[in-house]
Subunit: 373 residues, 2 copies
């Protein structure tokens, strides 16, 4: 059942998003880790029906900006439930969020502690620990996070500034296919907690972040395997009970979305066949550019011919960087006007879209597939 066409686009491209698929993904996460509170990383797909459905399901949220908080408040999410997990925030956003009722803020620097002490006096802070793990399709490149020594120092510095030393967090990197990455990071968090306890600081929250993968064109470990690694590491290392938080994004929304595109051109160039779509890297598949060939969206087409041929799949702009996937098998007789369906497209697609070259971001259509597998 089609519920709404918020983008007002009758044609393609559009993201067809299955809200019941979102239900299933949320329940899988909750069933795998019932002891954790789920804070959806809304940057991944901030469409309001997705936020509203997750709210109905009992999820909370993590944000990176005041604009994201505004979206949540518009659907009635209490600000006090929201984690401001961006370790470096626009000063005015801290003030706005604090005034609205957000009281928990991530930090990984002295400058951020000063900012929060000034804009949100008395707030609770959780420190972001650096991780060293490989195996993520979108590595973190050192942008956020500090070592255990600095983490402990920052939490002591929080207390010295009249802030509450509230928790510890990390991010293993998006689309992390090694469940062991969490275990290593939790052990490091636990060491910080053990050390801090000696100075009388007891943390309330362990936020193990996001990074849980979606299944693109190859299998990924089951969420229960991730949960087992997390639980075992906590049981083994964490010195006292804390609230456990997870911040999934991709794992909740990626598989519920299919990008529906139209073939606007086919061409043979230098021995290769190209299919040109009305969606490309700039108006929807920025991650194809960002991760080069790491994320391979499963693709099929409306012609569904038994005769297959290999196509490079590219976007509508005259920019050569606009290509989504190379060497994808599609119907050999693919022609202008055919539909191409890019699956597992619910995460980091519409969220990253620009209007480059005059091509609008994809529309959004929400469907419910209740009963579907």
């Amino acid at each position: 059942m089609t519920m709404s066409v918020p983008a007002g686009e009758l044609g393609t491209p559009y993201l067809r998003f299955d809200l019941d698929g979102l239900d299933r993904a949320y329940r899988a996460m909750r069933d795998a880790l019932p002891e954790a509170r789920v804070h959806y990383a809304m940057k991944c797909n901030p469409a309001r029906p997705i936020l509203a459905r997750l709210r109905e399901l009992g999820a909370s949220f993590e944000i990176a900006s005041a604009a994201e908080l505004g979206e949540l408040r518009a659907i009635g999410v209490p600000a006090a439930e929201v984690l401001f997990s961006n370790p470096v925030k626009v000063p005015a956003h801290v003030r706005q969020a604090w005034t609205a009722g957000v009281y928990r803020f991530a930090v990984d620097s002295d400058a951020e502690l000063d900012k929060i002490a000034s804009a949100a006096p008395g707030a609770a802070v959780y420190v972001r620990l650096a991780t060293t793990a490989g195996g993520s399709a979108v590595p973190s490149e050192g942008k956020f996070g500090v070592g255990p020594g600095a983490a402990a120092r920052l939490l002591r510095g929080a207390r010295a500034r009249g802030l509450r030393a509230y928790g510890i967090t990390f991010h293993v990197g998006s689309q992390m296919t090694d469940p062991g990455a969490w275990a290593d990071a939790i052990e490091r968090c636990a060491a910080v907690m053990t050390g801090l306890r000696r100075t009388g600081i007891r943390l309330a929250m362990l936020d193990v972040g996001g990074g849980f993968p979606a299944r693109y064109d190859s299998d990924v470990p089951d969420l229960r395997t991730y949960a087992k690694h997390i639980r075992t590491a906590i049981d083994r290392h964490v010195p006292y009970p804390v609230e456990l938080v997870v911040e999934p994004g991709r794992a909740l929304v990626a598989q519920a979305g299919v990008m529906v595109a139209t073939v606007i051109g086919v061409a043979r160039r230098g021995g290769a066949r190209w299919a040109h779509l009305d969606v490309g890297a700039f108006n929807g598949f920025m991650e194809a550019l960002e991760t080069r060939t790491a994320l391979r969206y499963p693709v099929c087409d409306s012609r569904d011919s038994p005769r297959r041929d290999s196509f490079h799949l590219t976007g509508p702009t005259c920019d050569s960087q606009d290509t989504v996937r190379y060497s994808v098998p599609l119907s050999a007789d693919l022609a202008v006007g055919d539909r191409v369906y890019l699956q597992v497209a619910g995460a980091y697609t519409t969220a990253y879209a620009s209007r480059f070259n005059g091509f609008d971001p994809p529309g959004l259509r929400f469907v419910c597939s209740a009963g579907a597998p």
Copy 2:
């Protein structure tokens, strides 16, 4: 003199764009190649005051979509002057453009010829030749362009479909620092023209595309050097007089723009210093992501301290891919609230910006620096 603040933003980030700098860049292009007609590649920066100023200066335009044509018509550009240079177009856009008066369309495939013959019967087409040159910071990766044999066949095919075989074009790749790249490509175009003449087809236009570089943090050859290579190759190889067209984008607008940003955080992580700005890859510096370290924006800061230190310059989102430049020398005492100026930022910045994580694209402020060097 500040002329307008179209984005309605009082704060940062904003692109400060010097319209007189645009004048100077346009005149440099025209003086270097007075025999060429300049069609600005508007995708590069489609802000209306830029289009209007170029129009006043006598430039024409090249487009990739119906939306781009709409922007040009809004400022009174006659559609007949506009080149539709995207080799693969949305079918409805061909129809709309043809109805509006655009009559020249790029092609590089049979499917595109069929599309144009159907949507714009009798139109003029120019074929896109592939180039093989290296040396571009943004290589073309084979998305567009065919070999000389296929090019000749497509132009004969155009005639067979009742279209006008009008011209030939190529694109050496953006930010091309080897002026010899044009000479090679022109020689290939000339060979196609010579061959076609034997079948009674005489072309009207040689469009040598864009790719002329801007000066980022290192010198690039002078435009007159490019002009000399182009002129020499034409004199030597092109068999009969044709209208010469250039499609500069970056070379006209990059150096006229300065992105003004505010430091929202400073941090030391793993031995490296980071400066977090309110603009990053996703809301303005997508090319930093696209080309990794190839484009280095010159950077300075408002503190302008004699004591310097090396910073990684990153954006406001909680996405680790958001980094603009690594290891930039800035004031050692850089602090939250300081301004950072990213120069040579007029091209492919606001044009590529998304709203990821709730951070809006930069505003635009137009200034006139008449008399400045």
